[in-house]
Symmetry: C2
Subunit: 154 residues, 2 copies
DNA sequence: AGTGAAAAACAATGGCG
DNA sequence: CGCCATTGTTTTTCACT
């Protein structure tokens, strides 16, 4: 485990999570480091797993994905097998962007992105509710998204 | 302005949102297109805003960010000015990864990532609750994250 | 719209302060 | 550990089908 990042590493990470299209040269100019050093430090951060991957962030609206919803799911029978199968299902559903187990009265919280409300209904009624383990589903639709950058606070 | 994507564009987007580190050559081999075409189509997708940006996805745990929470916020006085100032605040808070207005009994839902529970408490008690517009705050902590890829279903 | 090859830009590596 | 110079890749552009 590579414990400590120094200030440079942190700056590199800050820049890269906001804009991974910048060249090592450009990042180096921003933070006062040479391009070759950027290259080396980047490789290390990638190998250490601090940088997990690079991805293109797409515009949902441009792709006809107009509805974001948070779906709270309560399981009925809390058997280990039921829970396992539920988790298996949600992790493989492409419309589910995030899935967490939460403290409080709801067992799972899903973030779901779909084309329209009809598609949301289909997910809830045809996929979630029929599942043996699921007792209750409650969805809230995002009317407006103020922020959705998923940038970690560094 | 961005009319229709053909099958190639869709394939490019699918690959790029999963792994933007692949070269045009590699993507081209996957989907049956030359590197030069990849370059041209990518530039168009970027200009059209379908690809919003490229980012590095970082490991929260490796950066000491152990706590993800969903914070539901209910506003008290629903004046236009109050709402505006609240939105201004949450959009500029680095710990807030996502912020949406929701249907249902909660006005805003925030996804918050912080170092520990103490930091979460500080956000809630020192930033959110003291705000004039805020009437009530209710947070749920993510005990386990099953999925967090934020990949759009294409 | 598509390809392939040349030119330009970039990342990665080895040597040196 | 840091920077500079060289080498190998990758992207981009151009000529052409």
């Amino acid at each position: 485990m590579s414990g400590a990042f120094d200030g440079f590493d942190l700056k590199i990470l800050r820049v890269l999570q906001e804009n991974a299209a910048l060249t090592n040269q450009e990042i180096g100019e921003k933070i006062g480091l040479s391009a070759s050093q950027l290259s080396r430090r980047r490789q290390k951060l990638e190998q250490d797993g601090v940088i997990r991957r690079y991805r293109a962030s797409l515009d949902p609206d441009a792709l006809g994905l107009g509805v974001t919803a948070y779906v709270g799911v309560t399981l009925g029978a809390h058997s280990r097998e039921n829970a396992r199968r539920f988790r298996e299902m949600v992790t493989t559903m492409p419309e589910v962007q995030e899935a967490h187990t939460l403290t409080g009265d709801v067992d799972y919280m899903l973030k779901v992105v779909v084309k329209d409300l009809k598609a949301l209904g289909r997910i809830i009624n045809d996929e979630l509710l029929p599942h043996d383990a699921v007792q209750n589903v409650r969805s809230s639709i995002a009317m407006e998204t103020l922020k959705d950058d998923n940038l970690l606070p560094l």
